[in-house]
Amino acid sequence: MSSIRHLIPSMFHRRVILLVILCLCALLMLTGRLGYMTVVQGEEARARAEQRLVTTTWLPTTRGRILDRKGRVLAGDRASYNIALDYRILQGQWVYEGRDGRNYAMPIRSYATRLARRANPDIWETLPEHEQADLINRFESALRARVARMHRDLIAITDIDPADYEQRRTEILERVGAMKQQIADRAYQRELEKFERTGRVASESDLERFRKIANQPIAEEQAAHTIIPDISDELGFAVLRMVAKQEPIVSEGVEPGLLESLSVPLYPGLSVEDATARITPFESMPITIDRSSFPPPIRAQDPVTIRTDGVGRQLLGRIDDGLYAEDAQRRKDALTRDDELRARSLTSRGTDRGRYFPGDRVGRTGIEQSFEHTLRGLRGVRIENLQTGAVEEMLPEDGRDVQLSIDIMLQARIRALLDPAVGLTRVQPWHQNEQSEYTPVGTELDSAVVVLDIATGEILSMVSTPAPALSESEWKDRGVNTEIERRLYEKIHAPWVNKAIAKPYPPGSVAKALILTEAAKRGVYQQGDRIHDRGYLIEGQPNKFRSWIYKMYDGAYGGHSDQLGRDLDGVDALMVSSNVFFYTLGRQLGPERIALAYQDFHVGRPYELGIGTEWPGSIGQFNGPNDGSDVLLDEATLMGIGQGPISWTPLHAADALATIARAGVSITPSIVRDGYAPDVRDIGIPSWAVREALQGLRQVVENRQFGTGRAITYEELGPESVPIFNAPGITVWGKTGTATAPPLLFDPDDTPEGNGPQEPRIVRMGDHSWYVTLVAPEGEAPKYAIAVIVEYAGSGGRVSGPINNEIIHALIDEGYLPRVDTQAEPDA
């Protein structure tokens, strides 16, 4: 201190220096803060400030359609908008947008006062009262005129009857008014009771207070209400554009600089709400079925009409408007993956036009999910730079259509055929189902069907029954009322599973056709080879690896060689479905090569159709390596007849026979026509083996004496059998399969909360019934492959055979196979 005193002897000067230091310190601190703000927060703040220099208007778009192979719309948006008005506008108030973007309201007179003040900022207070009133009146009448003009415009644009419009307006006012009254009355009573409970008597001012509390505005009074529902796309856009417009409420006698602050919306309180619906026109329709070709016990000359529901439900999937964080992430992933999609979607400012807004619909299952980003449209956007006036406009781009290879009418027909009401998928006496304890006559059976176009690999139809139930009423229709009934139903019928592609089944004897060709390819079976079938495979072990004929008649008729009087070649073996023949091939192929054989036919690999979960098939353990390394020799032997540790799906079955029909050329089946060439690959089967296999498959259907899938005997018609296939002019190749399935267990008290004391009980048991065919017009090569499986139904020929026959008729009805007008072959 004293040194300063000596340095600057004058006290006044020391004090002045103190003041200088104080002042500079304050200014330095402010400069520091300024530096922090501009340098550290600058970039973010600039971006935020510049955001207000642009206005972004989004224009809605339409989700793409899903079409069938003939261009019929299976799912499509019906664009539709509602015009809604803020309740307070209807009430006669003025509605304006606050700084936070929400709507606020005040009496028109008050708003007029606000504008009048704004128009005369400097002199307002000095104006005499009558001049103020004049100005307010002028603004008030302009505001009222604007509201009236809005109503007039809406009536004119939408061409609605003015009386209707007026009525709707009144309805809204009455409805909300009544609601408000009810709520207010209740609130008033509540307040009064609360007060009286304290033992006091309410005075007039108390009552007034309660009335005030009760009169709080309700949500409906501050919300928009639809006044014109369901207007078109075009009108919706037109009105939407008008909603954004503002104009000065008066322009005469106002300083030009003030005009902007006097701008009010042309259509105050009006909003256009998206009311777009996803419609599926073919989901439910009546199908008339000609029963004249049915098995004799249920054959009838009069057709029956069945109402089918959920025709494409499992394929199309469903959409909903609940958004999850994962949806946004998936969208991001799709943009990263797909350059073309990214190029289309992003605006110049890098905003994704296809990003999800609240209320957007998202595909949840099936095609709607897997083709979400194809179907999803891109919003239009109008970005106006307020500073430069530059406008960037991108028109909305509708979502792209997705075309399926499915024929929806064929699909509907097949679904109708599989309806238990028709009779083909109910246990019938002629099925000779041995499991009457679990599936007595009349029991509804679940099934799956795949129809494949052999030339292209396209799936014409894919049906799985029952369809998933979407509503409580659908559950009730199925006789499911309680929780336990529902669990039992889901256990037995698995309605959510698309059985055609997602449920594992043992291939059963259907696999014999492909084992024959694969044995030939791999040198285990040579042209001209014959194998002796004595009824069982291993000398001295007649209880193991038996042929079905040996097993059924307990060895009384020996094996198939004894039946035919010769050793079997491939044709014979398929015709009689010899187990010993194919056990032999399976055993000789061994675990590794039999795995390769099944792999050639796509077992172990999903088809990636894009319609949801698929079962890829399994070789060896479920979810094992699928290469035979975990397969024992005995298991490989069993796999020779499609049993043992091997599973696939109806689609695999149809694909396998189609591949044989193409002489060993595999075309990966597809259901979406996405423009990509199918995966085509020759699996390398010798042509003689193809010929032998097709000949054998033909014999199954054709051979009167030995064909395992040719005819059915019906007790009521005597010993004569009736052919399964009866479409004139159509050649059928086929293979039955009666595949042993594990019993289905249901534990009634095994809930997610824990397992109770009750033991699980068997609810289904026995064999799945396969019949897989190739069909063609007479004299032509196979055109379509049809795979049918019916769960726990017993014999392949007896249950699935007649269904397969009706599908051939359906193909004829839909024009895929020619109708030949000759009398059906008389019953043999």
């Binding site: 005193r5 002045v16 200014l27 703000m37 501009t38 703040a45």
Partner: protein, 438 residues
């Protein structure tokens, strides 16, 4: 200088009275530190006209080069201000300050007039609820602005020969001198202007040799009694204080209501970044971000949005030059009233700048205070130029002999040895807490 010219009334005015035998060339000091304040005033005023135009002229067409009406008005006020500055710098400040009490009384009369009920709104026009302006027809006149100058002159006049203020009791009278205008202006209500008087008084007391410990004691007492005063604040004043606390806590909930003005100003300031934005962008940013009071209290945000950190810092530097220039003038003056004028006036300017920029930067609550020389408004700008004129006046005129080298106390600060007389030093001959005439 001839004798005939010597008696010319203007010369007498400049000399500060007829009995000054010195030739006029010895009375005037043409080369002085005051010019710095003139230069800074000129640059700041021009920046103000430009910033007002940026804030208000929304014609984004680059070919449109006319200034906005308010900017043109400001330009006219600036010229009037310069004229006023020239007029007030000529007569010797001793002459000017001789009527200090009269000016002060007139100003208080005007402040009372504003509050008289029943005056028609055509004369006293309330704005934002404040009765601060008198309508003069062509423009409005804000008496509280001119009161600042009258207050400085009055306090200077009071303190110049006194030593009582070196005692705690002696601070009562200066306190009352300040309390009257502060009270009248607070009632208008114009808290912003009212808040400037106490710091200015303190600066003058410090310069006049009041004991720092007394002043610190008063500040501490005021700080401690602030929480007691809080309940007496108006609700919007409380809201503003709550808003600034919330803002520092990172709570943005008030950004659309009470804190809207401040948050917008802060955003635009930060958006200026280091070098600012091109002119059209700055105009658009200010306009579309709806900055309130952009030509007025928030004009600093406009300046920074346009010129960035560099421009903002340069502007603060100009104020620093003004204030320091004025204080150097005080330091180079040897006569008490000149010294106090040249301390009191920059104290007003500095306080006003710090509060205004502080509220723009979001570190002080919004209390409605203009930025000297920049904010639009005739009373404010002309007052600022009058202040420059007064500083120039003090710088321009040598003291009229005999004068005392004032406020030189040997025991300027606290300490045990302060009671002892210390040696007189320099040309000051004061000791033992007494100022004496040289």
């Amino acid at each position: 200088m001839s004798r005939a010219a010597d008696v010319h009334p203007i010369v007498r005015l400049i000399k500060g009275g007829g009995r000054n035998p010195e030739p006029i060339s010895r009375v005037l000091r043409p080369v002085n530190w005051g010019w710095i304040t003139v230069l800074a005033s000129l640059l700041l005023s021009m920046l103000g006209v430009y910033a007002i135009d940026i804030g208000l002229n929304q014609n984004l067409d680059p070919s449109y080069t006319e200034l906005s009406t308010t900017a043109i008005k400001q330009l006219i006020f600036m010229i009037m201000g310069i004229v006023a500055c020239l007029v007030i710098m000529l007569p010797h400040y001793k002459l000017v300050s001789a009527f200090a009490w009269f000016y002060f009384a007139v100003c208080l009369g005007l402040l009372i007039f504003l509050l008289v009920p029943g005056i028609p709104p055509s004369i006293v026009t309330p704005r934002n609820g404040a009765r601060s302006w008198i309508n003069l027809g062509i423009t409005d006149f804000q008496p509280s602005e001119i009161t600042k100058i009258a207050f400085v002159l009055a306090v200077a006049q009071y303190l110049r020969f006194r030593t009582q203020h070196r005692k705690l009791r002696g601070l009562v009278v200066p306190g009352i001198i300040a309390a009257v205008p502060v009270g009248l202006i607070t009632v208008q209500p114009d808290l912003g202007t009212a808040s400037l008087f106490v710091p200015a008084l303190f600066a003058m007391l410090i310069a006049a040799g009041a004991r720092l410990r007394h002043l610190i004691l008063i500040v501490l007492c005021a700080a401690m009694s602030a929480p007691i005063a809080y309940p007496f604040l108006r609700s919007h004043q409380k809201d503003r204080i709550v808003a600034i606390v919330k803002q520092f806590q990172g709570d943005e909930s008030t950004n659309y209501d009470i804190n809207f003005q401040s948050s917008r100003a802060q955003m635009l300031i930060a958006a200026g970044q280091i070098t600012g934005t091109p002119e059209p962008t700055a105009r658009a940013l200010v306009h579309y971000n709806a900055l309130p009071e952009r030509e007025n209290d928030m004009i600093f945000a406009v300046v920074v949005a346009r010129f960035g950190l560099l421009g903002g810092a340069a502007m603060l530097l100009l104020y620093a030059l003004w204030v320091v220039g004025a204080l150097v003038v005080a330091a180079s003056c040897r006569e008490p009233i000149g010294r106090l004028i040249a301390v009191g006036i920059p104290a007003f300017i500095a306080t006003q700048v710090v509060i205004n920029v502080g509220m723009n930067l979001g570190v002080l609550p919004i209390i409605g205070i203009t930025l000297p020389f920049l904010s639009a408004g005739g009373s404010s700008l002309i007052t600022c130029w009058l202040m420059t004129g007064l500083i120039m006046n003090v710088a321009f005129h040598r003291p009229k002999p005999p004068y005392r080298s004032s406020f030189e106390y040997a025991d300027d600060d606290e300490g045990p040895d302060l009671l002892k007389p210390s040696k007189p030093f320099g040309r000051s001959t004061g000791f033992s807490g007494r100022a004496i005439t040289r």
